[in-house]
């Protein structure tokens, strides 16, 4: 069992944060990570910036652009986090688009993840079939969980297939949207959460996209193992930089207990 699987098994109301590596400054990656851990965050999705982030809204687009301008790349990121396990106990998931990973070499990437202590990977534009045909063995042999997204439009059959092939968590996208698009959770979304909960899945779910405050976080936790806050946190970094105090306040205001 890796850290991620352990967390999903043991922790209720998982408080998870996404932020873009190398933002707002190139070397903010580790200070932000340390501040998040100190604040009681359970899980971090560390964004690998890409020039063409087509599932992201303006906030994360802008952070990716800035991070790339700052000089962020996979090589730099792995260098920054190579010793993270001396201070970080939370599970860490890398999130980004497929092309930079493909260019780096998928095998080299997965091995490097394993070496530095990354627990899982989210690559929204790596389709399920492609993963299954070419990469599943590689990921499993290296103990890296590949995390899939599901949306309100994903058919039940496909959700079950994804469940059968997941070993970390399932990323439940809250609505038909890009990141940071909507506020609040509607009845329609609740119906979708309930539908998924009634499928009897074996993999835990975290809800993401549009989770931005205490209220949406709480609601999401009622229907899943926890939730992921992305754009709202990236905005905080934009406004306050990697301030340990601002991060601590942000987390305290949203997280349960």
């Amino acid at each position: 069992m890796n850290r991620l699987q352990k967390l999903l098994k043991e922790q209720k109301d998982i408080f998870s944060v996404y932020y873009t590596a190398g933002y707002p400054n190139l070397n903010d990656t580790m200070p932000v990570l340390n501040a998040l851990q100190k604040s009681g965050t359970h899980l971090v999705e560390l964004g690998m910036p890409f020039s063409d982030p087509l599932a992201d809204g303006p906030t994360i687009q802008k952070s990716s652009e800035q991070a790339l301008e700052n000089g962020m790349s996979l090589k730099v990121l792995f260098e920054q986090i190579k010793d993270m396990r001396s201070s970080i106990d939370m599970p860490i998931v890398l999130m980004g688009y497929f092309n930079p990973v493909f260019k780096y070499g998928v095998e080299a990437f997965v091995k490097k993840c394993s070496e530095v202590g990354v627990d899982g990977v989210i690559l929204p534009d790596l389709p399920f079939d492609e993963y299954q045909d070419n990469y599943q063995d590689l990921f499993e042999q290296n103990g890296i969980s590949n995390i899939f997204l599901i949306t309100p439009q994903t058919p039940d059959e496909r959700i079950k297939l994804i469940d059968d092939n997941s070993n970390g968590f399932i990323y439940m996208v809250s609505s038909a949207s890009v990141t940071g698009a909507k506020k609040g959770l509607s009845d329609e979304q609740i119906t979708y959460f309930n539908r998924v909960n009634n499928l009897g899945l074996s993999t835990g779910r975290l809800i993401g996209f549009g989770i931005s405050n205490k209220e949406t976080f709480q609601t999401a936790c009622d229907f899943a193992s926890g939730a992921i806050i992305g754009s709202a946190f990236v905005k905080l970094l934009d406004e306050n930089g990697a301030s340990e105090k601002a991060i601590a306040d942000f987390v305290k205001n949203i997280k349960n207990n």
């Binding site: 063409d52 087509l54 809204g57 092309n99 899939f148 997204l149 439009q153 038909a176």
Partner: protein
């Protein structure tokens, strides 16, 4: 084993050899899956064919002539035939695709159309088809391109389309494509994404190629009428994403007697850093849902291309062309800005036809390759030069 006959066609997984596929986020999966399940049935249905063919004939103005360019042929001592897509309604081949896809959208019950555009040609062709069908139309266009292509922006607006500026990234075609994909993610139910070239996730490259295939279907019977042979020795087309080339090649791909040449834009030169020569420079990666050659940095970030012609200014290339290149079925040449300008002037003064800058890249083949006296060389004139007059004025000092 793939049968030889279908060596260059897409397979069940949406691949052309090792290129293509559908590398899309899960949010787009149901829409793409749905389109994949219905597009062939719709295209092959009698109802679609009847309506599509009738629109091509009476609205677009097809068949487009295959014109024997006598003076150009004399100059190059060979037989040059121009496939006159420039004479289509709206001035380019793009409309073949948009009238086809708009019918598919209607069959699927979608009433909101979105599209990306670079120079505005595909945007205009989409807005035209939407006006014709009374459908809502939103066109994404890079902020920089909106400034560069004011007349086409006005045309789209006059046709009733909403033109939305893409302000992310490099603010050009690739970013307009990202914005269109984001719109589709947010509006999965009522919206149809009308892609302008043989790019994007499967089934788009195949669907667009089939809708442009009318070009080679006509060339095949027209060449018979004009020459003693029933095939051309060469078919030449310019390639941005590759739709006019795909349409020009389509019916000849399995006929190895026909040599296929695609010409990409090398801007200021392949090694200048200011280029769109994807095949010459690019390496394998994933762009807009398709695995293909693309221009990228060592870290896998997609780089911004450059060409004098906005329609060829795309950092990737359709997966079909990557495959035709990989299997050596087609040769991919490149032409610089200057080559294109020279060829545009040459055609204008020898034949009285002002070509689009994109098409001028295809014409530049005449300066790159010596054809035999008896060869019949078909060059697709993908569009007319009206939209490029400002560039011509600037460069030729009119």
């Amino acid at each position: 084993m793939m049968s030889d006959k279908n060596k260059y066609k897409v397979d069940e997984k949406g691949m052309y050899g090792r290129f293509g596929g559908a590398f899309i986020p899960e949010m787009l999966q149901p829409n793409i899956e749905n389109l994949k399940n219905v597009y062939l049935d719709i295209i092959n249905s009698d109802a679609f064919q009847k309506e599509y063919k009738s629109l091509l004939k009476d609205y677009v103005g097809r068949p487009s002539p295959l014109y024997f360019a006598k003076r150009l042929s004399e100059k190059y001592d060979t037989n040059i035939y121009l496939k006159r897509e420039d004479l289509n309604h709206t001035g380019a081949h793009k409309v073949n695709n948009t009238v086809g896809q708009i019918l598919i959208a209607k069959h699927m019950g979608k009433d909101r159309i979105i599209a990306e555009t670079g120079a505005g040609q595909h945007g205009v062709a989409t807005a035209t088809a939407c006006a014709l069908m009374g459908l809502r139309c939103v066109v994404y266009m890079g902020e920089i391109d909106i400034k560069r292509q004011a007349p086409n922006v006005a045309r789209m607006k006059m046709l009733g389309a909403e033109v939305v500026a893409a302000t992310s990234g490099s603010k050009t075609l690739k970013d307009a494509t990202n914005e269109a994909l984001r719109d589709w993610i947010c509006n999965p139910e009522d919206t149809f994404y009308l892609i302008g070239s043989v790019v994007g996730p499967h089934p788009y490259p195949d669907m667009v190629a089939r809708l442009q295939a009318i070009i080679s279907e006509e060339i095949a019977w027209q060449i018979k009428e004009k020459t003693s042979k029933d095939y051309p020795d060469y078919v030449v087309a310019c390639v941005g994403g590759g739709s006019n080339a795909a349409g020009s090649f389509y019916h000849f791909m399995d006929d190895e007697r026909v040599n296929l040449i695609a010409v990409e834009a090398s801007g200021m030169g392949v090694d200048s850093g200011e280029t769109a020569a994807t095949i010459a420079l690019g390496d394998l990666g994933v762009i807009h849902g398709s695995k293909t050659f693309l221009m990228q940095s060592d870290d896998g970030q997609i780089t911004e291309p450059y060409s004098i012609s906005a329609g060829l200014d795309y950092p990737g290339i359709g997966p079909l062309h990557a495959h035709l290149h990989d299997t050596k079925r087609a040769s991919i040449l490149s032409a610089t800005d200057q080559d294109a300008l020279d060829s545009a002037m040459e055609l204008t003064q020898l034949e009285g036809i002002i070509p689009a800058l994109e098409s001028s890249h295809a014409l530049a083949v005449l300066k790159k390759k010596k054809f035999k006296k008896n060869d019949s060389v078909v060059i697709t004139l993908s569009g007319r030069g009206d939209k490029d007059m400002e560039t011509y004025m600037k460069h030729f000092g009119f």
